[in-house]
Symmetry: C2
Subunit: 248 residues, 2 copies
Amino acid sequence: MQRAPAIILHAPQLGENIGAAARVMLNFGLTDLRLVKPRDGWPSAPAEAMSAGALAQGTQVSVFETLEEAMTGLTYTIATTARPRGMEKAVFGAPDAVGALKRQAGQSAVLFGGEKSGLPNEAVALCDAILTYPVNPDFSSLNLAQAVGVFCHQWGASAGLEGKFDGTTEGLGAPALREELIGMFEHFEAELERAGYFYPPEKTPVMVTNLRNALVRAQWTQQEVRTFRGAIKALALGRGKARVVREE
Amino acid sequence: MQRAPAIILHAPQLGENIGAAARVMLNFGLTDLRLVKPRDGWPSAPAEAMSAGALAQGTQVSVFETLEEAMTGLTYTIATTARPRGMEKAVFGAPDAVGALKRQAGQSAVLFGGEKSGLPNEAVALCDAILTYPVNPDFSSLNLAQAVGVFCHQWGASAGLEGKFDGTTEGLGAPALREELIGMFEHFEAELERAGYFYPPEKTPVMVTNLRNALVRAQWTQQEVRTFRGAIKALALGRGKARVVREE
């Protein structure tokens, strides 16, 4: 598996956001967190609390005086910015940024600016490309840890799990055979008929069709068909008020 | 544009997380936030603070006693869960969940459970499908607002902005013509030659090739070529120490 990129926070302010970033990094398998001049120092009790154990369980934090030092050993870096910078750099959304990172052989990193003003142009200039999110232009300022989280999810989604959650139905149930469905329909309709449901009688065919269309769309399993037949049976054998009324 | 889904928080605990969820919703253009039995009540000062203005600027919050009431008017809902439930439901990752939501004609929603234990099975059973994230199995518990944020980014990325941030280089600069590059190379190499850079002389061709390969890869614009030529010129006319040494 591709080595996960480092996350560099450039002049972050709140320990809470650093801790929340560490947590969401570890949620998606990223463990190299580099801090450049954290305003409130390091270590940080609020960061510890917000990390929900990530700092103890796996996220490695290193602290640097300058961005240049934090970038030592990196071969490719992407700067996250909310606004265009007019720089001659590739601008990626999260999926394409992950694609670009996965094509790198060496250690790469994604750089996020501090809460107040984001990344200075000098920091962006040290990066190979820009990552930006499709934000609401009227409310574009993301929380720092959220910005980290969006990237980390994208990384995680591409790291070996892609295609796993593609809308396939979970559970092991075998799909019902058509004859099982039809048997269920007939059972259901017979009981409805006995219960006086189909009224006026000439509407019966269209009512049956509507019911069958609704039920068939659910793509039930064999077990679900059995369950529903059990429900029909229980209703039919139960208080049976409608039947009693009819038989009177 | 497709109407954005509502976000339902089922029994959320901390106002901070509700506010952070409201903020990241509005960041990506979602404005319908529904709370079912928020533990600490509503309105909430911590939520107000963490929303960074979202609650005042656009996110609409409504509060319900039951999930069923919160679901009134919805035609399609997706439950977010970290663990499989063994239920007969489609399981989506974020991109496919957004795809499914965009195919719905009516108002849809995405449901998130509270901080402590996520969604109860009864709540998941009311939903059409499951959304799950590809989390680290050893550290799978996402912060509630982060979970909301990952979905909201995915929604925003698909809502009219997809394909915009595809790695295209921003900036308006016209790419340099080959003859401009070659002129720059020759200028550079002539000054390097005068500076005594190419030593031993028989290595000159390979050194020139290496330099040209490195520079051509940057795909400079015409303006960047002019800027670099200015830099060469400045160096050549500057203190010129190497040249002086050589001319002595």
